[in-house]
Symmetry: C2
């Protein structure tokens, strides 16, 4: 599994909280160890992205805004990564065009 | 002056050669030292981007293709760099949304 970045973990937690959930469900759907869940779930509460009341978590309005912005950011970033890869391929083509042309051996000379 | 990359130097030389030129003109328009010009001009000739005949340089068909591809690549790359900068700003906004919300001090309690 590839390493998830901080923002992705937060977004996964918010996605798992959804319309409301308890800790076990969040841990399961966000696919996190208990230790990481504890760390990040508390962070989302402290940041006001998730509200906590009597064992029940809910995504706040700020959390919804975060999720929407993150989703936009994430797809935009993936597109940029693909475009950069294509550009890097094009750079290689150009680099190759600058390389010495090795003339084909003219066997008719033999 | 910012550092010019290899491909840019080649493109600048090809631009300076234009419809045909002698070494002094190329050096002047490509804004290169004599040493760098020697190195890169020979490269462009060896790569078949520029032809050389009796002190006179000309951009070959391959050179024209290179120039066009490089120009496309260059503007595409600049756009990607700007978009990446914007994405990195958006990432910062998202990061800040995950930070601890410091509640405003409620002076009415005093």
């Amino acid at each position: 599994m590839r390493y998830r970045k901080r923002l992705e973990i937060v977004a996964d937690i918010l996605g798992a909280v959804g319309d409301g959930a308890k800790k076990t469900k969040i841990m399961y759907f966000a696919n996190l160890s208990y230790k990481l869940l504890e760390k990040y779930l508390n962070k989302t509460v402290d940041a006001g992205l998730v509200s906590f009341d009597n064992g029940h978590y809910e995504v706040t309005e700020k959390g919804q805004v975060f999720l929407e912005r993150f989703s936009n950011f994430s797809s935009r970033y993936s597109r940029l990564e693909r475009e950069l890869e294509a550009a890097s391929f094009e750079r290689e083509v150009l680099e190759r065009m600058c390389e010495l042309v090795v003339s084909e051996r003219n066997d008719s000379r033999v």
